[in-house]
Amino acid sequence: MPAWFSLNDLYYLTPELMLAGAALVVLVLRAILPRDNQGILSWFALAALVATGAAVVTMTGTTPVSVSRGLIAVDSFAAFFKLLFLLAAALTILMSTRYLEVEGASPGEYVFLVLCATLGMMFMAGGTDLISIFVGLETMAIAFYILTGMLKPNRRSNEAAVKYFILGTFSLGLLLYGMSLMYGFTGTTNLRAIAVALASQGRDGWLVLAVVMIVAGVGFKIAAVPFHMWAPDVYEGAPTPITAFLSVGSKAASFSMLLRILVEGLPAASADWTLLLYVLSVLTMTVGNIAALTQSNIKRMLAYSSIAHAGYVLIGVIAGTPRGIASTLIYLMVYAFMQMGAFAVVVMMRRADAIGDELKDLSGLFSRQPGAALGMLVFMLSLGGIPPTAGFMGKFWLFSAAIDANYVWLAVIGVLNSVVSIYYYLRVVVFMFMKSEATGSEPAIGPALTAALAVGVVGTLVLGVYPRPLFELAEVSARTLGVVGIPATPF
């Protein structure tokens, strides 16, 4: 009998351990450091994230490895997502430094929770067992509940936190119910073992029920219609950097979980979940985009746009082919750059005398902050899928995966939706470039925020013109999905 944990396992879990250690150090330092010096915690966390990223790259070999008796896989697929999470977390922290000052919040527990959420995401991406995935999901979710309500004196933030918490709990319950049904049906929680068991057992009503519940639970996490009702309120109420992190990190993590469970664990039920996701995808794209058209608040608009983007990404999962999975990965990575960048501009608009998240606050931004306005232009075009930005390359991959897998109508609905979406993205551009200036103090942009913005712009443009490295990385990663995960011996 192999031990639960061997030193070998610990070696492969170095990145996660590093991040967990860093989070604990932040917690301790927060208690020790004087209140005025807590800003340094952000920089410490940033360094930890970078180091973890380096560790992830080092740990990931060409051949996938399964550790802890099939609980966790260390493969390129997980590494791709882990790097995405670390990037998103780093950008979040860069965006937060000045924002927290303006809001008068202390960075201590904030940074700690961001690191915890990232840790949870990393387990979600690596998990090859329903249990490890669920534990990762809970870690992430609880951190986000608190982060959402982080602005204690702000009622909107409180309200968002309560809504998110209660609905999140229900959805997690749903997911857990589905998982337990799956366990009851197959007698195992290991995804590969489930796949093997299902292949011999065939389809059954209870299995379908389990699939529906799992899809619904994940659908809530990725804010897919009809499980999206929480998203606009939560996105609007949460601190802006957290909104960004929520819409990028949490969404990407949920997609990694979805891919793991469906593609790796439930290929036998693919007819069922494809049907469900198809409906989900069409609804999500359409409702998200149409609702976004009428928003006057940028955070709400980006919330609905984020809903719509979940719909696009689902196209890749539905296609289910290696190309489809690769396109999901590509789009999520691209999305990280553009969405974080767009939120960086929104964060910049938050000043001592203005909330700055209304569309009209952006009026004349180009003459006040040309750099930020140009950056926002790039992000909006990219979100709308106009070349030569990364968003176009991402959409190109998604739609080509759909056509390749013969989902032509899905692709048609997708492209038409992206046309609709252009309308509201261009509205932002209109305000920035074609309206006279808004009142209020000058939006200030500190070095940290500039860095975040620059990462977003460079990522969006470079991947739009020369996407080759990302494409190749994603294709390699997509191929490792489902290669390992069988425990050496059954429990």
């Binding site: 409180n158 609905l167 499980f227 009702m229 409906v279 005398d353 209304e358």
Partner: protein, 100 residues
């Protein structure tokens, strides 16, 4: 937790009442959806397509029920702290309900 749902005891009781029905509303929506789906399947002989779809919709409706209840009872109103005292700033916005 620094949030107070309501001010008076009466309102508090009402909130508790509303919140206590959440579980029931959630489950009920799912059961109705699943039942309706299976009935449709029985009529049309399409087992299990409608069951899946309506079960799914039931889940969504249940979620929506929960959301509505929470939205009714969650803290709301102007958001202090958005503007620093003494400084002119944009007025606080009203709470917005769920948009469907």
């Amino acid at each position: 937790m620094a949030y107070r749902v309501t001010k008076s005891a009466g309102e508090a009781l009402r909130s508790i009442g509303a919140l206590s029905t959440v579980g029931l509303a959630f489950v009920l929506a799912i059961v109705i959806g699943a039942w309706f789906g299976s009935v449709l399947d029985g009529w049309l002989g399409t087992k299990p397509v409608f069951f899946i779809v309506f079960f799914f919709l039931g889940l969504a409706a249940g979620m929506l029920n929960v959301f509505r209840t929470v939205a009714r009872t969650a803290p709301r109103g102007p958001a202090p702290g958005k503007t620093r005292p003494g400084e002119a700033g944009p007025s606080d916005r009203e709470f917005r309900g769920p948009d469907e």
